[in-house]
Symmetry: C2
Subunit: 202 residues, 2 copies
């Protein structure tokens, strides 16, 4: 398999971490690329019309996206405990938590596009602040339900860890750990896993 | 159950259409609201820290999001054929197609925010054009694989129909049917279903 990815993408990192944790990484060739909404990447566009990464090329030659679909697909290929829970109560709670982490990443990425990609004279502070509000509320909700991040490994732990890693990477000035001791403790422990260390963006 | 939604949201419409098609709609109270990234909606924020709709309040008092999680949850509650296929080949193909439709909606929504919400002097045409490029490539890909939209009802058909319905609602000037006879034919047929007619945004 091939994973078209970028080291800076938190969505791609989710896939790498899941692949590493489930023993699938040796079967996946990592192919680096870079995408931005305002530039064309023909190679990515040919595999994913949305021009987004990650994209997984399966051994059957199928190009899968987006990161959630890839993660669930990879989770069907290994023999270890499933990272997408089957038991209903646990499944919906975990998928909601993973969706919260994805939404946090999405909002942070939109702030990044607003402040680092858009010409400075066209930046709209209300937009960036609105997206940062989503980030802040998501962080408070994660702290309030930090017990959902305990226990056996599941996809939401990976998604949350990659979302927080993205804040460390691009939004160090947010100082997200302040006032969130439970979440800070979760991340201190989770970020030490080999899967996280080896996928830390430079 | 309660569905917090807005008639204009294509993501919320997916949930309504799925609920209608599976006979679950009578069990769901529709609660109208409106959200924008630059305004606070405390009621929605209390249920979904991301401030996005749809949100489903289950009979157990859980607030589920996002639309994909809600759709898969509702799909587990009825006795008719599953709209999220179980068989692997069909499952990954369908989830990819649904992700493509979600990405089309997401890109179109960002264009809407750029052109109808952001102050005109701060608008960046390259951004809107970049997002419209995603929309156009997604449409071409859907036309090229329109056979995947045939056969028994599945979640991707609903997602694609709601994405195309959103283009009709907000982007009539795109004239998306031009040059896409297969997709236009699919939509002509699908949009006539009662589930789609009753959820058409005004």
């Amino acid at each position: 398999m091939q994973l078209i990815h970028a080291p800076a993408s938190p969505f791609a990192r989710k896939v790498r971490v899941l692949a590493s944790e489930t023993g699938l990484l040796p079967r996946i060739e990592l192919v680096d690329t870079a995408v931005l909404p305002v530039t064309l990447n023909e190679r990515v566009n040919a595999l994913n019309p949305l021009g987004k990464i990650p994209v997984l090329l399966t051994d059957d030659g199928e190009a899968l996206f987006d990161s959630r679909v890839i993660c669930e697909y990879l989770d069907s290929l290994h023999d270890q405990p499933r990272l997408f829970p089957i038991e209903p109560t646990m499944r919906w709670r975990t998928l909601r938590l993973a969706a919260l982490a994805d939404g946090l990443m999405e909002a942070a990425l939109l702030v990044r596009y607003e402040r680092a990609v858009r010409p400075v004279e066209l930046q709209w502070n209300e937009w960036a602040e609105g997206q940062l509000g989503k980030v802040r509320r998501a962080l408070l909700a994660l702290e309030a339900h930090v017990e959902e991040l305990q226990g056996p490994l599941h996809i939401a732990q990976i998604a949350v860890a990659c979302a927080l890693g993205y804040l460390d990477f691009r939004f160090a000035e947010l100082d997200w750990r302040k006032g969130l001791p439970g979440l800070a403790s979760f991340q201190a422990s989770f970020a030490a896993r080999a899967s996280m260390v080896e996928s830390t963006p430079a």
